[in-house]
Amino acid sequence: MRSFAKPLLEILAGIPTIVYGLFALLTVGPLLLKLFGQGEDGVFGLNWMSGATSVLTAGVVMGIMLIPFVSSLSDDIINAVPQSLRDGSLGLGATKSETVRQVVLPAALPGIVGAILLAASRAIGETMIVVMGAGAIAKFSANPFESMTTITTRVVSQLTGDTDFASPETLVAFALGLSLFVLTLGLNVLALYIVRKYREQYD
């Protein structure tokens, strides 16, 4: 089971983001629009969404994209918890779920937090899904049904096509790129620090 599921997870984690982007643009977006938009014609008669591109669309698809990533990383981490701890717990008469919840998970928690941070950093830097799914309207809103923009979308829209390297737009895009780099770098340093700290505990 495991020897089959693990490579499958890894292969799934290797699906390029353009696939998910297309999925967001052509499948999930229109589906969400049908559910939460279109007024009378929609499934619930709601009119919350005005177009298929929205933060929700991008978010849902990104969530799907990160499932194999997070589970593969967490699996590695949970697997690194020594078998002797599991045996110890089972030998005392704990059930499997008690062992998992009270011994394995607490032991693996720091590593899992690290994995989630890595996933967050990937989500922030994700480009294709937001370019294709979240729209490009720069606005500040708490409504997930509206389309909004992200750092990566701005960079793409400023720098695609013929680029004039002296223009302010280009410079803005470079600045955005720098902030993105610093932001994700910070998250990665933190996540990797936690994961490494965790690994040392059992080496």
């Binding site: 292969i11 699906i15 696939v19 643009l25 052509l26 589970s71 990566t152 096509g161 993105l180």
Partner: protein, 450 residues
């Protein structure tokens, strides 16, 4: 033994018996089942998502591998194509695609009349069932075979995308109410021609091998040229990332002193592997195009950017496989008088090669599917129409790449291109899944527990 079986202790007190589950154990077992159910639920949700994704891709994408063709007998009139009758290739070249249009029109008309079909359509509307590429296809044939002028030749023309969509169910009579590209009368004729076997669907090799086409001709668009673009990028990545990555890992793992410098480098490499790919795109744009003035949109630049992106992955996996070779092997080699370098190249590296290969394949697969940096260095937004013929042309002339081509199609207004995009995804995923599977199998086969 018989006397013994009766001698053990009296049956234990009922509440202490192992044979009856006590209340607490029952409750705990129920909790166990609930916990298992949560896990199974989570897996099911994940599997359902996967299933939806796969079925979406397959159901929407397989259409791209089928295409509607119209088979016509075309009389290549000498009076139109070669007025002089000299079969002088220069003269024939002077006739533009515009000059071929009447020939196609009349061929269409004759086919319809020949089948005895009644239609009120004008000949222009009749020819409108064909792709706009039909005249170009005809002209290319004539230029290649001038001796055929004056004869009647059978051709398979692409049908225009609405007709194709109609046969695939994408276009319906309701959906074309406001469509000026096709009318209900034309669809009536299509039905009749399908019945007569003139119009038929068949396998579309051009989608796999052909080049992209303009906005007007989704039926002619193919992945072939962008596949070449991807191939040249992968060559660049392989040629640069593998030697640099392996050399860096060998130095870091075998020769470098363990001090804060190598620590910093190690942490940085791990970080770089997780930096968003678009940042590499910005870097490539600034360094290779703005500063070094390499040509925009060239697979060489794309390859360089992807090399930067893949290097950390390759270094990390190669180092891991080097680390997995036990020190006793090195000691054994050094013990019989091998130099440090000999011990690495004769013993450690061959043992680490499968891991290194796996890492390289996974890195290449990652690079093959990457889109974001390619957008920035301009590998989208134009039509890569000709397949490159030489290596330098392949590296330096503007081209697209598979994921960039898919993105390009997804952006276009005509929904006929969406089918192409899904079809492109299928091709891309076939490549990636093959590469990843090979990597997994390699690792499985050569994995060694020391």
């Amino acid at each position: 033994m018989t006397d013994l079986s009766s001698s053990p202790t009296q049956p234990a007190a009922p509440e202490n018996s192992l044979l009856t589950l006590n209340k607490r154990t029952k409750a705990r077992n129920a909790a166990e089942r609930r916990f298992k159910a949560y896990g199974i639920a989570a897996i099911s949700v994940g599997l359902i998502m996967l299933l939806v994704l796969v079925t979406t891709i397959v159901s929407r994408g397989t259409g791209a591998f089928q295409q509607t063709f119209v088979t016509l007998n075309v009389e290549l009139l000498e009076s139109k194509l070669d007025k002089s009758g000299q079969r002088n290739i220069e003269d024939i070249k002077k006739v533009t695609t515009f000059g071929y249009a009447p020939i196609v029109k009349s061929a269409m008309k004759e086919t319809v009349n020949g089948l005895g079909l009644q239609t009120g359509l004008k000949s222009k509307e009749l020819a409108g069932l064909l792709s706009k590429s039909a005249v170009a296809q005809l002209r290319a044939f004539v230029l290649a075979n001038p001796e055929q002028i004056g004869k009647t030749v059978e051709f398979r023309f692409l049908a225009q995308s609405r007709v194709d969509g109609y046969l695939k169910g994408r276009v319906t009579r309701e959906s074309i109410e406001n469509d000026k590209n096709i009318s209900p009368e034309q669809l009536d004729l299509v039905d009749a021609l399908v019945a007569a076997g003139v119009i038929e669907k068949s396998f579309n090799l051009d989608f796999i091998l052909g080049s992209d086409a303009s906005d007007q001709r989704p039926e002619a668009a193919g992945m072939g040229v962008s596949m070449m673009g991807s191939l040249f990028m992968m060559l660049v990545v392989l040629a640069l990332a593998l030697p640099i990555g392996v050399a860096a890992s060998i130095y870091l793992e075998e020769f470098a002193p363990k001090n804060w410098m190598t620590d910093v480098i190690e942490v940085n490499i791990a970080n770089l592997a997780a930096v968003p790919s678009i940042v590499y795109g910005i870097l490539g744009l600034a360094v290779f195009i703005n500063y070094r003035h390499l040509p925009m949109s060239a697979p060489l630049v794309g390859g360089l950017v992807l090399t930067l992106m893949t290097l950390p992955t390759i270094i990390i996996s190669t180092r891991a496989s080097l680390k997995a070779v036990p020190p006793s092997i090195r000691d054994a080699a050094l013990g019989v008088g091998a130099s440090k370098m000999q011990s690495v190249f004769h013993h450690v590296l061959p043992l680490a090669a499968p891991g290194n290969l796996t890492g390289t394949i996974i890195g290449l697969a990652q690079a093959l599917g990457e889109t974001a940096p390619l957008l920035l260095i301009g590998m989208v937004g134009f039509i890569a129409s000709n397949a490159p013929e030489t290596l330098s042309e392949g590296l330096l002339s503007p081209n697209s790449a598979m994921p960039a081509q898919i993105y390009e199609w997804a952006k276009r207004a005509d929904p006929a291109f969406y089918e192409r995009a899904w079809g492109g995804i299928i091709i891309l995923l076939l490549f990636l899944v093959t590469m990843n599977t090979v990597a997994v199998i390699l690792r499985r086969r050569f994995e060694r527990r020391w």
